[in-house]
Symmetry: C2
Subunit: 194 residues, 2 copies
Amino acid sequence: MAKIRSEHAGGFYHFYPKLATVVTVQAGEKRNALAVAWNCPLSRQPPIYGVSISPQRFSHGLILEAKEFVVNFLPIEARKLIAAVGRTSGREFDKFEQFGIEVEQPLKLASPILKEAYAAYECELLEHRTWGDHDWFVGRIVAVHQEEGAFTSEGLIAFEQITPALYLGGDFYLEMEKKAIHRIGREEALQSQC
Amino acid sequence: MAKIRSEHAGGFYHFYPKLATVVTVQAGEKRNALAVAWNCPLSRQPPIYGVSISPQRFSHGLILEAKEFVVNFLPIEARKLIAAVGRTSGREFDKFEQFGIEVEQPLKLASPILKEAYAAYECELLEHRTWGDHDWFVGRIVAVHQEEGAFTSEGLIAFEQITPALYLGGDFYLEMEKKAIHRIGREEALQSQC
């Protein structure tokens, strides 16, 4: 199809939808929660995860201090929580108190797990690295939390139970529905004529 | 809700669905296409993008040689193409010929743009870094291709035109439907009680 070509990234929303996670961190008495859509697995064995956070955010300094963070995966029903922690700063107030956010105990580290999360990764900070206007925090996953029934026996997200929160950019969140799940095995893939 | 806690990542599919992109690369006479679900923006200004690729893949060496790559964003209709380039190796055959994959000319670099892509980023390699069993390739975006009508005037993906290909892990691809788009402004977010 006809494509528009440009040397400029424009709105830079082409890579959405992306899971709208919330990163939590506890550093001594200080704690915070921040919406982070720019998140990605980096290794399966050992399990390693990356999150991108602006140096301007309060959580940035807390993660460097705590040397740990938690990635919380949330359902679309939690979209106001995600927007609330995304649009405010932990320098103004304690977001957990302000927005009535309930937490659960971590297994290995100190950063809180969000009660509304259907899954969460506890990560020990391995490295952070500046790329342009964001810093990339890389963490080794040392514990995993997952809601009972949120994933199938094959490990796939159970859409009958969970509708993941997907971010579209700006103030926009996508509530999706499953139309179909397609299984494409190697044999079928090999016969492909595109 | 009740959560299961573990020190092990298990199936390590908790972070899906993720956009199922195809990374293309041209290094001299050699070229390849590879399915890459582990992809993420890293900076808005300048625009920087990361992709995670196993050292075992043919594309890994080609990207190091070419010092560039292209990230192609594809609709769910291209799921067999994605599975085909994901389940085969460019060492066996030229995937473009084998699967009849049509390409378009890049604007700034040498790596091909997939005709079926609704958007694509041309990236100059800035750095690669080993994390566990994958390498993280970071590229500066020097050109953007986007299909006419694929994005709204606000830059959001136009679901009336495009259903993005979402990967779920294993051999599974999600065909989604838009149920609703929620706009949550700062004011509404601030009134949140979760």
